[in-house]
Symmetry: C2
DNA sequence: AAAGCGCATTTTGCATGCAAAACTTGTTTG
DNA sequence: CAAACAAGTTTTGCATGCAAAATGCGCTTT
């Protein structure tokens, strides 16, 4: 139990709750018990409830009037819809990044790319995912558009739980690596139009693959 | 003063606060006084503070630790960044809508379009804006992607304050109307690729025009 | 034995209370 | 005269208390 900074308890609680939900510690659909979490975090109900309201506006929990909060569940459709929007946002980020990114940043991206290739060679999927995420994130940052970055982050948060559970078909991994190479090439050429198309396709393909292997809880609804 | 539904006070307060900010009743950068708003809404500080946290996560207010809340200010860059993302989202909405929209919905869109032309002929700019917004909103709804709709709505909220203040140069209006006609045509043809490009251009042009005429408060920062 | 009903317990939602931080203002000091 | 300081006031942040709604459970009724 880390002692909590008293000047912004609610922010701390939001962070911890987010972590608990994203890490799957709080199962999707599970009812959130205020008292239980209060004891767990060592705070009173006021900051916890403030945090829950924020999480609800982020879409991580669902508030049922007079009936408490539940961890939001993701249907297959939710994931697909979210991913479609993210694909569009990442395409935009690539486009904007082409106009702003420095040679040094591209060099760093290339380095990350090779590290990713290394993990691919080792068949270390989790390490690959982490590098993959860092690369996409770095392109996003290079877009220089804070609204874009924040919007993407908000969506990514909601589906992170589901993002890496899907078991991908054989050959997917090699294909993804090839796509990444083309993306990096387009970025090096500062070809905004090309990178937008490539990023969009790269992620749309992921949607297709996930759609085939997603088996989720039914609905985000009341669940009597 | 409408009596407030006691079962979800915080939600009511969020609505009212949002309205007050979006309508400009609470000026950008203005400090938000809890006690004052409590009296105004006839609620205690608890639901008000919950509402403020939500508004902060929506980006309508900025929370300063131990120093209260201020109405978020929009820099020119904020507006441009937001609009770029919205342009991308609307382009996606048009693309998705092409695959789902019914003939009846297209007929209704065409009707709205003609109503908009009528307001254009009358030079009734506010009425034109309302119809313009209804048309874009209807295309968004036709996308059938709730995540896309919600994300767009969240961004639209933040810049609604600034959206219609810019005084546009001469000839802009006629140009916008022509663009709308081409958008509607593409939708009728169900040409997703075309409508995506058209919507994106339509909104990117608006960004350009707004950038020329925006004169705002300086920064979202502390403002001593 | 299954369905319906009523009471006790739990949980939620909001109001209030209290300590700490920040702002004000009048005064002092170099 | 300007800058710095200090006490009083206000404001913020969190904990707690209380009423209403929801939930659980044993009982009755058929």
């Amino acid at each position: 139990m880390t002692p909590i900074d008293r000047s912004s308890l609610h922010a701390e609680v939001v962070s911890r709750l987010r972590a608990a939900i994203v890490d799957g510690e709080l199962a999707p659909g599970a009812r959130v018990n205020e008292r239980e979490l209060c004891e767990r975090f060592g705070v009173s109900r006021t900051p916890l409830r403030e945090a829950l309201k924020v999480m609800a506006s982020e879409g991580l929990v669902v508030l049922l009037p007079n009936r408490g909060a539940r961890v939001a569940t993701l249907t297959r459709a939710d994931i697909e819809n979210t991913f479609k929007v993210m694909a569009c946002l990442e395409a935009l980020s690539g486009e904007l990044a082409c106009a702003r990114i420095t040679d040094e940043e591209i060099a760093e991206l290339r380095a990350l790319h090779y590290e990713m290739l290394a993990q691919h060679a080792r068949r270390d999927l989790p390490a690959y995912y982490r590098l993959n995420e860092r690369i996409h994130h770095m392109i996003l940052m290079a877009s220089g558009n804070p609204v874009l970055i924040a919007t993407h982050a908000g969506l990514a948060l909601r589906i992170r739980r589901a993002r890496y559970v899907a078991d991908m078909p054989h050959g997917w991994w090699d294909q993804a690596v090839r796509e990444h190479e083309r993306i990096l090439d387009a970025l090096t050429r500062r070809d905004g139009a090309a990178i937008a198309v490539l990023l969009r396709q790269h992620l749309e393909r992921k949607i297709d693959l996930m759609a085939r292997s997603a088996d989720d809880v039914p609905e985000t609804s009341t669940a009597a």
